[in-house]
Symmetry: C2
Amino acid sequence: MRGLAIAASLLLAGCASAPAEMATTPPPPAPPPAEAAKPPVALQYLYGSPEAAVAVRATNARIADYGVWRIKERPKDSVVLAPGATMDAPAFEPCGDKPFAAVFDADETLIWNLGPMRYFAQEGTSFDPKVWDQWEKTGAGKAVAMPGTVEMVSKLRAAGIAVIANTNRSAANAKGSEDTLRAAGLGDFKHGETLFLMGDDAGGSSKDGRRATIASKYCVIILGGDQLGDFSQQFNVKDLPAAQRMALATSATALWDKGWFLFPNPVYGPWEKLGWDDAFPSDKNWEPK
Amino acid sequence: MRGLAIAASLLLAGCASAPAEMATTPPPPAPPPAEAAKPPVALQYLYGSPEAAVAVRATNARIADYGVWRIKERPKDSVVLAPGATMDAPAFEPCGDKPFAAVFDADETLIWNLGPMRYFAQEGTSFDPKVWDQWEKTGAGKAVAMPGTVEMVSKLRAAGIAVIANTNRSAANAKGSEDTLRAAGLGDFKHGETLFLMGDDAGGSSKDGRRATIASKYCVIILGGDQLGDFSQQFNVKDLPAAQRMALATSATALWDKGWFLFPNPVYGPWEKLGWDDAFPSDKNWEPK
């Protein structure tokens, strides 16, 4: 799963600074499929546990409640950072009298990709971009809306808030992704209007440009995602402790649960480059006698 | 990690119905330590990622805000279910004029157990109750308060809300756990007053009896934990889909983020018994051509 997760995070999260480093690291030897009597714990937790279902549904409930509350009085600004703005000096795209929108990542934010996640884990293979490309094209019906997501999306739309997806799925596979979201029960997402994909602009895996495009047409009151790159590309730095400091800065703290909403995803992410001493500070090492 | 997680969930979560089944399942062969160039993804995410830090700190902020708001008007009831009450017919312990309290699990709710989690994963060993027993005795200084937990605990105490831990650590190791919480910067927890442990009553790993004891002395406005057993023993049934239905019932939904607060923990839990078809419904199976 380690190889899967690293590659998936690059593809799905658009961690701009990581690929050079990652590409030189050979994937660890895949365990023989026979060993995998059960899914890896991260997959058991996210896709199967009552705890994750409760956490995701509660996040969706917070989003819906927030959206309905937020538009009672028109906000001055979107929650999309203006070009060049940082968490030290935050500035936001203006709302004007634009229509309201909520912008979400797709993968592990609106839908769980059960089909390929089981396939990769069960085969013991690394993430394979060619397989993922097929998944984008043919996955309709094999991905599911996350717990409470159908209700959340319906509540926002009923309140007059446009629901938009901004994902690093490929623009070349727009129809497959539209079909996948519709088959999951999430209604219509239309490429170029309510579905923004990698390849729509020259920004590659950075979602900043697409966010700016959306914010030029909408007053964005909500951003939702499973990785920090779903909120601002500035978090996609190689130095994860620096990303963490930015994400925990006062200006960011003012946004979490108040415009910015984060879903749990322990299955893949930019954090997969963390080594033992990164995840576990050495002054906390302990062993039994 | 699978063996670790299963055994840890039994010990820490008190999944009453699982041990009989688990005890007969041999642990999977441990991978050779040389393979583990990096921690398993679940550990990277929980203990190292900016995303988990943001999610945990936001949860702590919600708890502190909720606590301060909740005591402005005295509630009629605690958020502790009355004996025999179910999610179908919820009933709660009365508040009367008792002092306010917030009750938390300890492990992966107030503190991250960095010492033994790294040790188990790096050694490639299963969870070992003897090692864990040593950890409870000697871990002070090697566990850390989770992001935002020190601030959350301080805010509650400053508002006059007692902060109480109800954990399945052993009563025999009370001093070690008191020392561990204090060394993590969380202040004083005193066994029998603000620290309740497995062995305090005849309930074993069920926390219901200890919750009732606490609710007899306090108006409990907050329960916090990483597993459903931290809220009610009724969730610790063998049938996880049934537990999930109960946890997503309307009566429970009314409590999540409004008295009941759940922290992410993809590292261990009762859900580790899930097989492939449990975590991934077979009608979502997919493979590339």
